[in-house]
Symmetry: C2
Subunit: 196 residues, 2 copies
Amino acid sequence: MNNKIIAISREFGSGGRTVGKLLAEKLGIPCYDHDIIQKIAEESGLCEEFIAERGEYATHGNWFANAFADRDYYGHSLQDDIWFAQRKIIKELAEKGPCVIVGRCADYILKDNPECLKVFIRADIPCRAKRIVEQYGESDIAPERRLRDKDKRRGAFYQFYTDRKWGDIKNYDIVLSMSALGIEKCAEILADIYNK
Amino acid sequence: MNNKIIAISREFGSGGRTVGKLLAEKLGIPCYDHDIIQKIAEESGLCEEFIAERGEYATHGNWFANAFADRDYYGHSLQDDIWFAQRKIIKELAEKGPCVIVGRCADYILKDNPECLKVFIRADIPCRAKRIVEQYGESDIAPERRLRDKDKRRGAFYQFYTDRKWGDIKNYDIVLSMSALGIEKCAEILADIYNK
């Protein structure tokens, strides 16, 4: 396994995005995260905020309710368009050369690519709750509830498009707890696997 | 986190036991695996084979059926005795000093020990199927079915005594796929975390 691509899935607030950036810096390869959203925006004409939300989160925290949401007479939704655009862009990026890809179901999209290391970054609830308040500020909604909502909608999105359970141990080559290991150590472990 | 103890949970046939032994060798600390069974045998007078089976596997692949199995008039079972003996011994070993403990729900038993790194070793089905045939020989039952049965009964045992789902990403600090990384690399990653 050459692990030329590293696909990082992550829980909201787990620091997975920061791990991805730090890892890419260590390896001297690009980290694609917001770039994917920008590319979809360019191709589709949809606004970036809409894509960021609908390319990873279901409108409902239940894949079944989501399956019927926002569809036109022909059963088609903008979310489907974003999914197909995202899938195409991720496959193209993986063809282009070594890189880190954060989120956006890249672990599933590249599941048959033997050169892709599939990573999941998680963290305990108190650690994530603290991080989201620091990063995104306070809100009327308790941080634990914000996390639960995000996780549910991310899981529902993932299940709808991939027919797999989000965060299932079977889908990843390595799962790291940021709350136990820290961001720097997570990036170090992954850089070490990549380099050997 | 000093990670003085490493608790390794593993799927049947994933090589988790071999990872544990290799890791302990690298670190120059003891690896407890069969020793725990021997200690329970000494204390209880039960035979080792019975303890090995009943200290990790439910009699049924369903925790509910297991909950009512083999109980006497007072609702007590030999499996309960083994569980409590095993719990006591694992806590004592963790008090004694740095070590690797393989299996036997040590991840749960030591869940509140901040110096315990909780590890899960998994592997893809084809890799595990090949390994169990190499290690335990052929049988009339297909290796995939043997794996499924072992996983189900190990999961049911774990759920009954811990009230948690076996293999749930939330219970571990690090999950490694042996089929993606290899035994040597898994041991190396863990030794590196332990040493830093």
